[in-house]
């Protein structure tokens, strides 16, 4: 009897799905219900395999081909692409270790969800274009049978960057690069700007660049959950716990010039379980460091940076948490529906949040005034003293506003050149990085995940050449500066 119900349920769902896609409309309610019923029935059917190993929230498996440290958007994206690009279904086992499944401190959940192509480096522009394409087709990439479609809540309103006399030339050359890479960005004179957005005070503005397509903001939580749901359906395992130790073997080698090098290979990851002193060792072939703002610490656990200064062994992963505030305010006379994400030349930015004349924004402090990253408390004086004055000058309507709330999050800040680190470590040969994106990691996650997966599976970058982002640049001292950091 039960089986017949099950049959019915699954058969119906198939028909419903086929029809709904053909019509183009979707029936989330029904699909959701069907999968719910199916799950219920499955759980009470006798003879179900009960296997504690698969109960992912408790213990991790004893071995996994790949262990990903950090279940934020970058870690999940790497997991997704590893499974997507594997040449046979189930070829690689992937385990994601995340210490906090509520993501209370993860940058992904605390970011403001912006995506733009207005960067100075071609690689960053390409990554962001790739991501825009991914996000546009998110319900194809992350489609899960029976699950309702994702609502990314993308606001395609663009970024508006302002430049003073001094910055105008740089802006112009950046836009040239952006256009070459295929981004749709236009330049505006102060007069054009005034015409387009009458609520802006153009005093001091020499030039503005404005993204026409593929720029705006979306719900980062939706992307995170969508990835999570998808990779789970692809067989990726999750475990809640903290990676506290790597056990590695080393082999000594000589280079052609006769120098001794020690190559390390991690073969075991210790995962400390939540609320206990116990740990579980997980045998692995490969570790992905996607621990966001904490990826520097995770690298240190593998011995990266522990060596004489000036050597490759002694070169740290220069990624550290930097606290950034986001304020939410209400302003009845503020910019209307058409308002893009505006970034003033002072660095202060704002965007609309919803329809009720609410706005959010912030500003990155100067190096000397970096707040203590020990906690995520908000400094309201920072808004009063640093953020509000330039914003009120730029948008006179903001002279009267009311701060409603605020939060703080960590930038995964690369102190060396504010760019991501992608690919393997030259000495700890099976640790791969996907970290250090310094405040633009969310929008680049889809492309970065793919690049790392290609590196793992093919040994080289295929879709986008990210070799400038390799770790070795820290040792060689080759900065690849990104000029447009917000």
């Amino acid at each position: 009897m039960l089986r017949r119900v099950l049959r019915l349920a699954s058969g119906r769902a198939l028909v419903a799905r086929a029809l709904s896609t053909r019509r183009g409309g979707s029936t989330p309610d029904r699909d959701g219900k069907v999968s719910e019923i199916k799950k219920k029935i499955q759980s009470i059917l006798p003879g179900e395999p009960w296997n504690p190993l698969y109960d992912t929230s408790h213990l991790p498996p004893e071995r996994s081909d790949v262990v990903i440290v950090g279940g934020g958007v970058l870690g999940l994206s790497v997991a997704y692409w590893l499974k997507k690009l594997e040449n046979r279904r189930g070829a690689i086992q992937v385990l994601v270790v995340e210490r906090d499944h509520t993501y209370s401190q993860a940058s992904t959940a605390l970011s403001i969800g912006g995506i733009r192509q207005q960067f100075s480096l071609p690689e960053n522009i390409q990554l962001s274009l790739f991501s825009a394409n991914f996000l546009r087709n998110i319900n194809e990439y992350l489609a899960v049978v029976d699950a309702p479609p994702l609502d990314l809540q993308f606001n395609p309103l663009g970024y508006l960057l302002l430049a003073s006399e001094k910055g105008a030339a740089t802006m112009e050359s950046n836009v040239k690069v952006q256009r070459q890479e295929g981004a749709k960005v236009c330049l505006m004179s102060p007069e054009q700007l005034q015409n387009k957005f009458p609520w802006i005070n153009t005093k001091g503005v020499a030039l503005a660049s404005y993204g026409m397509e593929n720029e705006g903001w979306f719900d980062p939580w939706c992307l995170l959950q969508g990835l999570r749901r998808k990779v789970q359906s692809m067989g990726v395992l999750f475990c809640q716990g903290e990676v506290t130790r790597f056990i590695s073997s080393s082999s000594h080698m000589k280079t052609t010039s006769g120098k001794e090098v020690t190559l390390k290979r991690i073969y075991e990851v210790h995962v400390k379980m939540d609320h206990s002193m116990e740990y579980q060792p997980v045998e692995c072939a490969l570790v992905i460091n996607a621990a966001g703002a904490w990826s520097g610490q995770v690298a240190e656990l593998a011995g990266i940076g522990k060596g004489p200064p000036g050597t490759l062994q002694g070169t740290r992963l220069p990624v550290e948490p930097r606290k950034r505030y986001v304020y939410l305010w209400h302003c009845p006379q503020g910019p209307g529906l058409e308002a893009p994400l505006v970034t003033d030349m002072s660095g202060a930015y704002f965007r609309r949040e919803g329809l009720g004349n609410n706005y959010l924004g912030g500003l990155s402090p100067i190096e000397e005034e970096e707040p203590d990253p020990g906690n995520l408390e908000v400094d309201y004086d920072f808004f009063q003293d640093k953020v509000w004055p330039p914003l009120a000058q730029r948008v006179p309507a903001f002279e009267t506003l009311k701060v409603r709330s605020a939060w703080a999050g960590y930038y995964d800040y690369n102190t060396f050149d504010q760019n991501g680190v992608v690919g393997p470590h030259p000495l700890v040969v099976n640790m791969y990085f996907a970290a250090g994106f310094s405040g633009h990691g969310l929008q680049q996650a889809p492309g970065v995940g793919r690049a790392v997966a290609e590196m793992v599976l093919e040994g080289h970058f295929q879709t986008i050449d990210l070799s400038p982002f390799l770790f070795s640049r820290f040792y060689l001292g080759e900065k690849i500066q990104e000029h447009v950091i917000i």
Binding site: L6, G11, E48
Partner: protein, 255 residues
């Protein structure tokens, strides 16, 4: 990962009922049903669980939409942008109106094909793509029609906010736009229409994804002061009409 056993059972379940075909088309003749079954059997040999099979079908559906929206732009050099844009719309099942000409629908396609050369220099002034499967990629072809004045995308299932952010190349000419009944358009995409300052008439009624239709309409009116915006209230008015009509007919005053 715990799926294999359950899924295998699911496969069996689907094969043993008349399943997919029995329910999909009630009047399927016996012969084609057999054919369908062997195909499914073949697939089930290759894809080991039914979830995967269903995902495969899902992907196929999506691919179809992509194919319908493939780019025609390589033909522009030979035929000119207007012919190519018009062909795309007709292919989709929509209608086009060349300047100083009558509407051409999919039925008149043959005649249109014979008179290609006549239209080469004439621009398209109106497109009615109601209910078409046009999506973001397909807009490539539509955007060839640079002098387009009126565009109807009513009830297009694949037109979404991303699409609206791409209409700005039509800014100088577009005066009328109808988006009524598009299931995926929200206030976030509508906000992009500020790029179309020449709009005189905009229909945004019956958009289920707009979270606050009343407020959205007010904000849209603020954003596009020269444009007449048909929104929620208008749609309600329409709904009332058919109900009122019979009453009117019944009343003796109304002849």
């Amino acid at each position: 990962m715990a799926a294999p056993r359950t899924s295998l059972r699911l496969v069996a379940a689907i094969w043993s009922t008349r399943g997919i075909h029995g329910r999909g088309g009630a009047a399927t003749p016996e012969g084609s049903q057999k054919k369908g079954k062997t195909l499914l059997q073949f697939l089930s040999d290759r894809f080991y669980d039914v979830e995967f099979l269903r995902e495969y079908f899902l992907q196929r559906q999506m691919l179809k939409v992509h194919q319908k929206n493939r780019s025609f732009t390589h033909m522009v050099e030979q035929y000119g942008p207007y012919i190519v844009g018009a062909c795309f719309i007709l292919d989709q099942g929509g209608m086009v109106k060349f300047q100083n000409n009558d509407w051409i629908g999919p039925k008149e396609r043959g005649r249109f094909a014979l008179e290609f050369s006549k239209f080469q220099e004439v621009s398209v002034e109106a497109v009615d793509a109601s209910g078409c499967a046009i999506n973001y990629e397909g807009l490539d072809n539509l955007l060839l029609l640079r002098n387009l004045q009126s565009l109807s995308l009513r009830h297009c299932p694949h037109v979404d906010d991303w699409c609206l952010s791409r209409l700005y190349p039509l800014a100088s000419s577009l005066q009328e736009l109808s988006l009524a009944g598009c299931p995926h358009i929200s206030e976030r995409g509508l906000a992009c229409l500020h790029h179309l300052p020449n709009l005189r008439k905009l229909d945004i009624s019956d958009l289920p994804a707009v979270s606050n239709p009343g407020l959205t309409q007010i904000l849209m009116e603020e954003m596009l002061p020269n444009c007449e915006i048909l929104g929620a209230s208008w749609a309600q008015g329409l709904n009332v009409e058919p109900e009122e009509q019979p009453q009117d007919k019944a009343s003796p005053v109304h002849v």
